[in-house]
C-alpha cells in the first residue's frame, strides 16, 4: 500500500511570457491513502500545482507521475481523460452548475468518465441512485435534492460538491480551500464528513488551505513555500 500515488521530480513551470518559473519543485511524493495538508501564502504556487496535477497545465521541465502515469507524456485530451477518471476536484466556492439539480450536479462526474461511472454502478443500480446514496452520507436528502442549487446554503453546496468529488471512487481528491467560506463549526463538520468519505473509499486526499488550524486533521503537512524553490528565491533574504 505504500506505493507513491504522486511522484514529482525536478518539476518546473513558468507562465507563458514569463522568464522566472512560478513553480520549481525538486521532489515531492505522496503515498496512497495519505491525507496531505498543503499550505502556503498566496503566490506560493498552490493553484499552479493543482493545475499541473489536474493536467490542465503542462510543465516545461521535469516529471509528474500520478498513479504510475507520466502526465507530461500525455496529450492534452489524454490528460483531461485521466483527470476525469482518477481525480475528484473540490473548490472554494461556486462548485455547482447553476442550471442542474442537486442530483444532476453529482451525476456529472460519472458522465465524463466511463471508469467512474462503472465504479459507481458497482455500488448502486444507477448513477442517480449512487448520487443520492452519497448525498445521504453527507446528510443531504429529501426535498433538498429537488431544490435549485442556488437556493442551497454555502455549506450544503460544498457537501454536494464533495459528493461529486467522491462519486465513482477516484483515487485522488484535490480540495482547494473548500472550507474557507464556512464558519468554524461547519468547517470542522464538513472536514469530518470529507475525511470519512475518503476513508470509506481509501482515497488519497490533497487538501490546500492557508488556514493552518485545520492541519491537525491530516496525516501529513506540506508547506508549499518550503518545497517551491522559485518562491524561496523570490523572497527578500
Amino acid at each position: 500500500m505504500n506505493r507513491a500515488v504522486i511522484d514529482i521530480r525536478d518539476l518546473r513551470f513558468a507562465w507563458p511570457g514569463q522568464d522566472a518559473p512560478c513553480l520549481d519543485i525538486e521532489s515531492l511524493q505522496v503515498e496512497a491513502g495519505e491525507r496531505v495538508f498543503i499550505h502556503g501564502p498566496s503566490g506560493s504556487g498552490k493553484s499552479t500545482l493543482l493545475g499541473l496535477l489536474g493536467g490542465v497545465l503542462a510543465a516545461q521541465r521535469g516529471s509528474i507521475d500520478v498513479l504510475g502515469t507520466r502526465l507530461e507524456k500525455l496529450r492534452p485530451a489524454q490528460r483531461d481523460r485521466f483527470r476525469a477518471d482518477h481525480i475528484g476536484f473540490l473548490f472554494q466556492l461556486f462548485n455547482l452548475i447553476p442550471y442542474l439539480s442537486v442530483v444532476d450536479n453529482v451525476v456529472l462526474a460519472g458522465q465524463f468518465s466511463a471508469r467512474r461511472r462503472a465504479q459507481a454502478l458497482a455500488s448502486s443500480a444507477t448513477l442517480r441512485d449512487e448520487a443520492i446514496r452519497l448525498l445521504a452520507d453527507l446528510d443531504l436528502g429529501g426535498a433538498l435534492l429537488e431544490r435549485r442549487v442556488t437556493d442551497l446554503s454555502v455549506g450544503q453546496q460544498q457537501r454536494v460538491a464533495a459528493a461529486r468529488a467522491v462519486l465513482g471512487r477516484p483515487e485522488i481528491i484535490v480540495a482547494d480551500e473548500p472550507t474557507s467560506a464556512l464558519d468554524a463549526d461547519r468547517q470542522s463538520a464538513f472536514l469530518d464528513l470529507l475525511l470519512h468519505e475518503c476513508d470509506a473509499a481509501g482515497t488519497t486526499l490533497l487538501f490546500v488551505s492557508h488556514d493552518h488550524r485545520l492541519a491537525a486533521h491530516f496525516t501529513r503537512e506540506i508547506a508549499l513555500h518550503g518545497v517551491n524553490c522559485s518562491w524561496r528565491e523570490r523572497q527578500p533574504a
Binding site: 489536474g54 490542465v56 497545465l57 483531461d80
Partner: protein
C-alpha cells in the same frame, strides 16, 4: 459524449429569456427572407396565369409592359385609345381567328369596368387554358346589363338581378356617377384568381351609351338622354382601349405582330403576353433583388445578435466552464457545448420562421387574392426556398463556431481556476 446535447439544452433553458428573444429575431428574419422570395415566386406565377390562349394584345403605341399592365392586369390607365377601324382591320387579317375588344376607363366602387363583347366570355382563358364559367346567371345580352367577377360579387354582396351604377373614371372616391343609367347584373363569374375576378364586364355599346350625354369627362349641362332612348343612337364604338387577339396558327404570330406595328394610318403596337411579362420581370427583378438582399441582411443581423448574446453570456459562465473542465470536460467539449447552443437556436429559429411564414401565408392568402390578385400558394416550404433556408442556417452554423471558439480559448486559458 452523449450527455453534452442534454447539458447544452439545460444550459440554454436556464437562459431562455435572452435566448428566446434571439430565437424570435431569427424566426422573424427567416420568415421575412423566405416570405420575400415566396411573394416574388407567387406573383410571377399568378401574373403568368392571368392570360393564356391570347396570342397578341394590341393597343395604341406604348411600351409593351404598360399595355399589358392596363389591358390585362387593370393596373394604371391607357394614355391613348385605338380606333374601331383599326380593330376591324386587324380582326380581318387572314391569320386572326378571333379578336375581343376592351374598352376601359370607367369603374364601379373601385373595380374596373370592361366594355367588351360576348366573345370575351368564350375566348378569354387563363391558367392552363381554363375557360371562364358562371357561378350564377349568364352573359349580358342587352345594353344595360353587366357580368361581374367573383371578388366584385363577394366584396360588394351582389347577386344576379341586382342593379348597379357605374362611375366615370377609375378610383374609389368622389367620382361622377352614371346614375341615370343603372345596370342589371345578369351573371357572376366563378373565381379565377386573375384580374377578371375584380372586373365588371358590360357590353361595348353600354360604354358608348353612358357617355352619350357626356363631354370632356362631365355631363353636358341641359342634355339628358334617358336609357330607353339610347338605342336610337349609333352605339357602335368609335374607339376602344385595347384588343385581345387569337390566331389560327401560333406560328404566324410574328407576321401578325409586324402587320399591326406597321399599320400606316394608326400608331399601334402588338405585344406577345409572355414577352411583355418577361420585360416586366426584368424591371421588377431589380427591386426584388434589393428586397432579397435587404432581408438577407436582416437575417445576418439576427445571427449577429445571437452570437453577441452567447458571447456576452460567456464571461458569466467561465466558472461553469471551469467546473465542467474539473470533472473531465476537454476544451473541445466546451467548444462543442457552446457551438451546439448557438446552432440549436439557429436551427429552431429557422424552423419557427418557416412555420410562421406558412401560418401568415395561409392567413393572408384570401386578402392578397382579393385585393392584389396575388394567389399565395399554401405550402410549408418550396424547393427554391429550401436553398435560401439552407443558406441562412449554414451561415448561422458558421457563426455558431465563434462563441464555441471563444469558449475553447477561455477554457484553455482558465483551466480549473477562472481568473475573474
Amino acid at each position: 459524449m452523449t450527455h453534452l446535447p442534454g447539458l447544452a439544452l439545460r444550459s440554454a433553458w436556464n437562459r431562455r429569456h435572452t435566448l428566446g428573444l434571439t430565437l424570435i429575431a431569427i424566426a422573424l428574419s427567416v420568415a421575412l427572407l423566405l416570405g420575400v422570395d415566396r411573394v416574388r415566386q407567387d406573383a410571377r406565377a399568378s401574373f403568368g396565369q392571368s392570360v393564356s390562349g391570347t396570342d397578341l394584345v394590341v393597343g395604341a403605341r406604348t411600351s409593351p409592359v404598360q399595355l399589358m399592365l392596363y389591358a390585362v392586369f387593370r393596373i394604371g390607365e391607357a394614355t391613348a385609345n385605338m380606333s374601331w377601324a383599326g380593330y376591324e382591320k386587324i380582326s380581318a387579317h387572314p391569320l386572326v381567328a378571333w379578336a375581343v375588344p376592351l374598352a376601359l376607363g370607367d369603374s364601379h366602387r373601385g373595380y374596373s369596368v370592361v366594355g367588351t363583347t360576348r366573345d370575351y366570355f368564350d375566348r378569354f382563358s387563363y391558367g392552363a387554358g381554363k375557360k371562364l364559367a358562371y357561378a350564377q346567371g349568364e352573359a349580358f345580352s342587352t345594353v344595360f346589363e353587366a357580368v361581374i367577377g367573383a371578388d366584385v360579387a363577394q366584396r360588394l354582396g351582389y347577386r344576379a338581378g341586382d342593379r348597379i351604377v357605374l362611375n366615370h373614371g377609375a378610383g374609389d372616391v368622389d367620382l361622377a356617377e352614371h346614375s341615370d343609367k343603372p345596370f342589371i347584373v345578369t351573371g357572376v363569374l366563378s373565381r379565377t384568381g386573375t384580374p377578371v375576378d375584380r372586373s365588371v364586364h358590360v357590353p361595348l355599346e353600354a360604354i358608348e351609351a353612358i357617355h352619350l350625354d357626356w363631354q370632356g369627362g362631365a355631363p353636358i349641362p341641359g342634355v339628358a338622354i334617358a336609357p330607353e332612348h339610347v338605342t336610337k343612337f349609333d352605339l357602335r364604338p368609335k374607339a376602344i382601349t385595347a384588343m385581345l387577339v387569337g390566331l389560327k396558327n401560333r406560328a404566324g404570330v410574328f407576321r401578325v405582330q409586324r402587320h399591326v406595328n406597321e399599320l400606316k394610318d394608326e400608331a399601334l403596337v402588338a405585344v406577345l403576353p409572355a414577352v411583355a411579362l418577361d420585360q416586366l420581370w426584368q424591371v421588377v427583378g431589380v427591386a426584388e433583388r434589393v428586397l432579397l438582399a435587404v432581408s438577407a441582411m436582416v437575417v445576418a443581423v439576427g445571427l449577429a445578435g445571437l452570437v453577441a448574446v452567447v458571447l456576452a453570456g460567456l464571461n458569466e459562465r467561465r466558472r461553469e466552464l471551469a467546473i465542467l473542465r474539473s470533472v473531465g470536460a476537454r476544451p473541445r467539449d466546451i467548444f462543442f457545448l457552446l457551438t451546439l447552443e448557438a446552432m440549436g437556436v439557429t436551427v429552431v429559429g429557422a424552423l419557427l420562421g418557416v412555420m410562421l411564414l406558412a401560418a401568415l401565408t395561409a392567413l393572408f392568402a384570401p386578402l392578397a387574392a382579393s385585393q392584389y390578385g396575388l394567389v399565395l400558394e399554401p405550402r410549408l416550404i418550396a424547393r427554391s426556398e429550401l436553398a435560401l433556408l439552407a443558406a441562412a442556417v449554414g451561415v448561422g452554423i458558421l457563426a455558431s463556431l465563434i462563441p464555441g471558439y471563444r469558449a475553447y480559448r477561455l477554457s484553455l486559458a482558465d483551466g480549473l481556476t477562472p481568473r475573474l
